[in-house]
């Protein structure tokens, strides 16, 4: 085993309590970030379900020949925003109304003439399911002469937009704050380790160890702590997720992180650990040799 690895691991054995403290604080910071990540992830999933319902409906003038409508719907489906176009004939509309509007079943049953117009139901591609794009599509569809009216539920699509923006900003801000807190905490715990080992570092310097040689084990130590903290944070998140899911029947379709999310969190932990130790070791070494530099200036 190389000296670097041995010295880094030695610090875990020599100061198990401090090491455990560092790993735990990293884990809890990442856990908080992870929880917000989970909330954001599930919110996005929920919004995706909602978004799929964003559609533009064009009502067709009575008596329009079906060929004209079919041609137009082919044309509309080439719009960049458009995902699918479904032609709902007058008969389809009535059948659906009978099926879905149970309260009015009797009323629809007795009709001699079908009062419902035919329509084109236009679903939008992912990424275009917002008020602005829906309005643009609606405006162009309105241009077809056989189209009587276009609806896309402007109000609730706009509210969906607002909700999406708010969720994004909130996730970013809170996640950022907790990541910053994690960096500070890691820096402090590494600094405690440094103070505890100041004597050893001093001896290393006196016998001629280079600054990078002194930094090495601390950086490795920080990275390992970050790694352990990241893994622990994932475990905590999973525990939280399981508890939450088993206690809430309303929210059925909760999702957990995928493998790539887990990898990102663990790598993030390692980077936090590395960054924290780099900053505090760098400061420590500068403080020790600072007198020299000041004199030289």
């Amino acid at each position: 085993m190389s000296l670097l690895v041995r010295e880094a691991l030695l610090s875990f054995r020599r100061a198990p309590l401090l090491s455990a403290l560092s790993v735990t604080t990293i884990a809890f910071s990442l856990f908080t970030v992870g929880l917000f990540g989970l909330v954001a992830l599930n919110l996005r999933e929920a919004l995706r379900d909602l978004e799929e319902r964003v559609e533009v409906v064009a009502f067709v003038l009575r008596g329009t020949p079906p060929e004209t409508i079919t041609l137009a719907s082919q044309d509309i489906s080439t719009f960049p925003e458009v995902f699918t176009v479904t032609y709902v004939t007058e008969e389809d509309a009535l059948a659906r109304a009978r099926r879905e509007l149970v309260e009015f079943r009797d009323a629809y049953q007795d009709l001699q003439v079908n009062p419902l117009p035919a329509s084109l139901e236009i679903r939008l591609r992912e990424g275009f399911r917002d008020a602005q794009n829906a309005a643009a599509v609606a405006e162009r569809v309105q241009g077809f002469p056989f189209v009587e009216d276009v609806r896309f539920g402007r109000d609730w699509v706009e509210q969906l937009d607002d909700l999406r923006d708010l969720a994004g900003i909130l996730g970013l801000v809170i996640g950022g704050v907790f990541a910053a807190v994690a960096v500070v905490i890691i820096g402090v715990t590494i600094r405690l380790t440094l103070l505890q080992r100041a004597r050893e570092i001093n001896i290393m310097r006196l016998v001629g160890a280079t600054n990078w040689f002194i930094r090495g084990p601390f950086l490795l130590e920080g990275a390992v702590k970050g790694l352990l903290g990241g893994v622990l944070a994932i475990a905590l998140c999973y525990a939280g997720y399981t508890v939450f899911r088993s206690n809430t029947s309303v929210l059925g379709g909760l999702v957990f992180f995928g493998p790539q999310h887990i990898l990102v969190i663990v790598i993030f932990g390692v980077l936090l650990g590395l960054f924290g130790s780099l900053v505090s070791v760098g400061r420590h070494l500068r403080l020790v040799s600072g007198r020299l530099e000041r004199r030289a200036a």
Binding site: M204, L206, G208, A209, N211, A296
Partner: protein, 228 residues
């Protein structure tokens, strides 16, 4: 080996630690640095191993221009020096053997050469039998011997000792001092700061006395001015 020219050291708080200090230590010499506490002995030694930098003047140690050394060049200087302190500065959680091996490891010595080199210096300081002992299991004199062994393991050209016998009783002092003399006999320059005047009087080694940051006496001036 060591040459100081008009060295001045002012600390950031304005206090003058060294005042125009100049002297030369040739190869193979043993030099006592004497004076009261606060006279500037430690500051002067720290300057020799680049822990302090002069405010003015030049410091040359074994071919290195210490006064203009960049911080990444300092390790190279220190690998050519052995440094010993009053408080030994051993790592408590490592054995005598590991403390010495540590000095080799951090300088990137080949791993397979380390055990033989450590054993050699432990034998040299008379502690081969205590290689597995931790510092707390050793007497003060023995701890200082381990520290000296650590200083010797990189075959330094110069050994700097800051009050190495300050924490030792008479018997241990004599032992450590004899060890330093033996090291000097084998060709290593030894600069030893001390205020133990009995020790100084026992021998005819060169003595540089400091007072309030200035050299007030240098026995080399009395005998042989040409040697400077």
């Amino acid at each position: 080996m060591i040459r100081l020219s008009h060295v001045v050291k002012t600390f950031p708080n304005g206090s003058l630690a060294l005042k125009d200090v100049s002297f030369h230590v040739p190869k193979g010499e043993f030099v006592f640095l004497t004076g009261h506490s606060g006279a500037g002995k430690s500051t002067l030694l720290r300057m020799l191993y680049a822990e302090e930098r002069p405010s003015q003047g030049e410091v040359r140690v074994g071919g290195h221009l210490v006064h203009s050394l960049k911080s990444d060049e300092i390790p190279r200087l220190r690998r050519r020096l052995g440094i010993v302190f009053q408080d030994f500065r051993l790592l408590e959680d490592r054995t005598a053997f590991e403390n010495i091996a540590f000095a080799l490891e951090v300088t990137g010595a080949r791993r397979d050469t380390i055990p033989a080199r450590v054993t050699r210096v432990l034998t040299q300081v008379g502690l081969a039998a205590k290689a597995r002992a931790h510092p707390r299991e050793l007497s003060g004199g023995e701890q200082q011997r381990v520290a000296i062994a650590r200083a010797l393991v990189n075959d330094p050209a110069i050994l700097l000792a800051d009050e190495p016998t300050g924490n030792l009783d008479d018997r241990a002092t004599r032992g450590v001092f004899q060890l330093l003399r033996d090291i000097n006999t084998s060709g290593t320059v030894v600069v030893m700061a001390t205020h133990d005047l009995d020790l100084v009087r026992q021998t005819a080694y060169r003595t540089i006395e400091m007072r309030e940051g200035a050299v007030v006496f240098d026995s080399a001036d009395d005998h042989d001015g040409e040697d400077r």
